[in-house]
Structures are given as C-alpha cells and as structure tokens.
Amino acid sequence: MTKIDSTLAKTLLEKLWEVRLFEENTSRLYKEGVLPGFVHLSLGQEACAVGACQALQESDFITSTHRGHGHCIAKGADLNRMMSELYGKETGYSKGRGGSMHIADVNAGILGANGIVGQSTTLAIGAALSFQTKKLDNVVLAFFGEGASGSGAVHEAMNIAGIWKLPVIFFCESNKYAELSPFDVHVPIKNISDRSKGYGFKGITIDGNNLVDVYSNVLEAVKLARNGNGPTLIEAKTNRWHGHYEGDPQKYKPSSELDEKNWDDPIIKFQDFIKKEKIISETEIDKIKEIVDKKIIEAIKFAEQSKNPSAEILLEDVYASDF
C-alpha cells in the first residue's frame, strides 16, 4: 500500500475540504438564486477527484465533465477564478462565457470540463496523442461517468487508446445515477471495468470513497502510462449525494439514499484513517478545514466584486486568427 506521509496527508485533506466546501457553498448560492444556469455538484465524490489528481504531476492533464468542480480544484485550479466563472463574471476562467460546465486551466493541466457526455475521453486521447507524438512522458486522465460509458465516444476513445497504447487513464466515477436513472438503465453488467479486456488493457473496480485506494490505484495506472504501457480503466464506485443538478427533486432515489446519515463520507473515511495511523493531529485536521473555509469565503468575495463581462467579451475569442 502507498505510504501517506504527513505532508501528503495535509495536502489531500485540504483538497478534500476545498472540494467539499466549494460545492456546499455553490449549492447554497444556487439555492439563494445568486448563481445563474445549471450546476452539477460532486458532493460525495471528493475522494475520486482528489485521489486521482494527486497521482498526477502538474504537467499531466485531466479532462472533465459537466460535474467538474472537484476535478478542477483537485488539479490545481484557482478557487477565485472558478467561483467567478460560476457567477458569470469577467474574472472567471472563461470570462463568464462558459460557466460551471466549462472550467479549464490549461496551465494547470486542466483541458476543461465539457458539457457533452463522453467527450472528456476523446479529448483526453487527443492530449495523450500530443504527448506521445512529441515523445513527452506526460499522461492524461479522463474523468467520465458510468452513464457516459454507454456512449460511442467512450468506446472509440478506449479502442484507439488501446491500439496506440496512448498514455491515458480512463477514470470512471460510477456514482449509481446518470441524470435521473440508475446504473442498470445504462450498463448491463456489474462492473464497467470488465470492458477493458475488450481493448487489451487493464481494468479495475475500486472503492471511490476511499481516498487511499483511489490514489494508489491511479498511481499505478500513471506509472504504466508514463512508461509507454498504455491505458488503464479504473471504475471508482462512489455516490452522488445531491441531485443531478441543483434543484433536482430526486424523486427517483430511495429515501434511504436521501438520508445524510447513510452517506458514506470520503472525508470522514480519510480523517479516520489519518487518526488511526496518527499521521497528523486532530487540531491540525481542524485547522485545515478552517483555512479552506476562509479561502472559499475569499473566492465568493472575489466573484462578487468582479465585473460582469463587457459586451466586447461576447465577440472575442471566437477565432484565434482573422475571420
């Protein structure tokens, strides 16, 4: 098992809380009518985002989905610019043109969240193609959902990646629902990871709520990919605590799943592990949350004080060269 030292544990815990508190505040702000559009939150899935991204280097890339806040935070996106984008402000990552579903920070290796289900995997193999062609040893990790696994895009991406041994990790957050429908509407087998054999690479199903499991399995996949041994498919079983979008009445969930008491909390799980292994102290643990709390408040303030995008921003960046 991968060794988690105190520095790493602190980083991981901080990231977990960043995701958690960012999402909780987003939920609140949305309910208050402050945030426009649609938002899809990753509450309950924090260990996937944080564990997977921690196994990457800064120069590695991720691609993300409509449910991308956690991925972006974990890969190093700036909370201020993220929150500002949710507000639709000019200081946001997309200058307010993209919103929650399109947050990207290419310098941090985030090729962007994407609103079209499945395309995170095809964009990812594109970045992996760049790395392989340029003989760089970077890797790409594509987040996608179990719902996405039914799309042709995901199949085509995995098949191409398998044939060309592209340096890519297919990371499936298997969170029991796609929009309003459960796993078995989308997938006729128990574990999606079984499909990797059909593409000639390794597949594994793990507990996506166990940060250490996620981290160590992705580390291994990254090693394979970085060494030219091609892709891995990792299916992380996890839970989407909130609705598909904020405001979703979630009538399709059994009441037991709606009861917070039954939630399998990845942060508590990780904190318990830290405590048991005595990696960092309880006061330190509490401090981390406090620090993150402040950062989020900071981010909200930043967003609120930012300007709405000006009319010129509407017309910019459609083309990179003359049109």
């Binding site: 043109r97 609103g115 289900v117 429908s181 509407v185 509407l314």
Partner: protein, 327 residues
C-alpha cells in the same frame, strides 16, 4: 378552450397518440419512470408500460438509428433528445438513415418517427446547451422540420407529426416550456397540418417572419411598434421550417413591401437566408426596402446572463433595428 402549459401540451400529444395507436412508442434518456427533466413525459411510463416507454442509455447516435430501424419495421417512435445541441451525436441516423431509407430502398419502407428536442437560449446554459440547429435539417431532403411557439401549435403539430409517415424533427423552445396557452377542450383529433405558417398579427407596413421562442417577443415588438410608432407590422410564425410556407410570406410581403426575419439561430445558411432568398427569387420587385435579418452575432452562445441578453435578439434590439428601416 382551456389553458395548458407548453410542456404539458407535449405530454398530452404523446399520450393521446399512444392511446390511439399502440405502435407509437417513446424513447429517450430519462423519459421513463422519472418523467423527464422538465416533467414533460410524466405519467407515460405508468400508463403505457416499460415496453412502450423506454429509458435509454446515453447513446443518442445508437438509439436514433435504432428508432429508424424500428420505424421501418412497424413502430412509430417518438424520440427525445434533451437539448438541441446534442443532435450532433445523432446526425447519421437522421440524415443518412431516416431521411434516405425510403428513397434508397426503392420505396419499400416508410420511416414514421418524430424526434423532439429543447432548443435555444435564455437559461444561461452556456455554449453547448443553447444552440438552434434547425436549419441543418431543413437542408436535407427526406426530413420534415417543425418548431411550434404555443401550446396549441405544439399539440396540433406534434399529433400530426406522429401520424405522419415521414421523419419529423421538432424543435421546442426551452424558454417556452412553462408558458401557458389556450388549447381546444377536446384535442383527441386536433391536428394542425405541417407546412402552414400562422399569421399572428396582420399589418400593412412590414412583414416580420419568425418562429419558436422568438414569436412571443416579436409579437410584443409589433404591439409596441403600433402603439408607439404607428407602424403596423404583420407577424408570421412559420411553425413549419420544412416544408416552408413561403406562399404566406410572399403574400404578406407583396402587401407590406418590406421583410424582416427574426430568429435565434445563427444567420449564415439558415432559415432566415432561405426565406429571404425564396422571396427575392419569386420577385425581388415586391421589396421596397432591403430585407433584414435579426439574429445573434456570429459567436457561440455565452453563459453569463448579461452576455446572453446581448447575444439573443430582444424586444429592444429588434425594435430599434426595425425602426431604422423606417427612418
């Protein structure tokens, strides 16, 4: 007459036609037990059962072409694609299969399917969830395209579409979902023929052609032009994009001498281009002013509400552009 919401008109149209004809089936993501993301299909799963109301996996390409195969073998599928932007995932099924199968196979099959999707902006849904792509389909022989703006038109056109023996694509307005309107008391056989435009307001000074979510906005423009500027605009809601009722437009322009097309879609190679071309091909002399297209600027649809408000034609922007024609 009674009042009905737009999304419930869709629901009623599907329900009535499913009751009437057991070959009508409903297929799409989350159209089943959950009742759809806008509640548009609620109750249908319970009423018609799991064989006739199918929740699909996320595979628009696959299930649309599947529906073509089903239509060619006796079913009459109604298919939902949640957002109009996702038609990019099922173009082959629509364009190379549904549109051509009958022709290509020597008339041996018909392809009676209806695909509906929610299209357009106004919800700050961003660049991949706000597009209007109906013009693509009007370019393709073998397809029919409709885009109703009221619950009544939706109900009447949709029921006709389900009974039609050809593939029909229906672009619904996202912003219209919750709007209310009159519908007949008994709608069981309430049908509106495809390919007939609706003159919403009569006028003698300018013809404004529009459809879908722009219709209610254009009607406000017309009212304002009348009361504030004494300009009597004739407002035509196309309702059908293909076939296109150009006769009604030409008749109107012959009277008004002036033509403006307002649409939420992009301008190049669009319905607006087509309407203008058809009119001047018929007779360019009936125009006393240069025709005018009012459409968004040539950019993707932005997320931020303040940008989206600039992007989309609004009552104010439409009015001021039309007033310039009269200066």
């Amino acid at each position: 007459m009674s009042k009905l919401k737009y999304f419930l008109a869709l629901n009623r149209a599907i329900r009535e036609e499913m009751s009437r004809d057991e070959n009508v089936v409903l297929i799409g993501e989350d159209v089943g037990e959950s009742g759809g993301i806008f509640s548009q299909t609620r109750g249908l799963y319970n009423e018609f059962g799991e064989l006739r109301v199918r929740d699909t996996p996320i595979a628009e390409g696959g299930f649309v072409t599947m529906a073509v195969g089903a239509a060619a073998t006796g079913l009459r599928p109604v298919i939902e694609i949640g957002f109009g932007d996702f038609v990019t995932a099922c173009m082959d099924g629509l364009v190379n299969q549904a549109a051509k199968l009958r022709y290509m196979l020597g008339g041996q099959v018909k392809v009676p399917l209806v695909l509906y999707t929610f299209s357009g902006g106004g919800l700050a849904a961003g660049p991949q969830h706000s597009q209007c792509l109906e013009s693509w389909f009007a370019h393709i022989p073998g397809l029919k395209v409709i885009s109703p703006s009221t619950p009544m038109d939706l109900l009447g056109l949709f029921k006709t579409a389900i009974r039609d023996d050809d593939p029909v694509i229906c672009f619904l307005g996202k912003q219209l979902v919750g709007t209310s309107g009159d519908v007949p008391q008994d709608t069981k056989d309430y049908l509106i023929p495809l390919g007939k435009a609706d003159v919403k307001i009569e006028g003698k000074d300018i013809t404004i052609v529009t459809f879908s979510q722009m219709t209610p906005i254009v009607m406000k423009v017309a009212e304002s032009l009348k009361s504030n500027n004494g300009i009597n605009a004739e407002v035509i809601d196309l309702r059908s994009i293909s076939p296109l009722d150009i006769e009604t437009v030409i008749k109107s322009v012959s009277k008004t001498g002036s033509l403006c097309v307002v649409q939420e879609s992009q301008s190049p190679c669009s319905v607006a281009s087509e309407v203008i071309s058809k009119v001047v091909e018929y007779d360019s002399k009936i125009l006393f002013k240069n025709p005018l297209r009012i459409t968004p600027p040539f950019t993707p649809s932005p997320f931020s509400p303040n940008l989206e408000n600039i992007y989309r034609p609004s009552q104010v922007s439409i009015e001021s552009k039309i007033l310039k024609l009269f200066q």
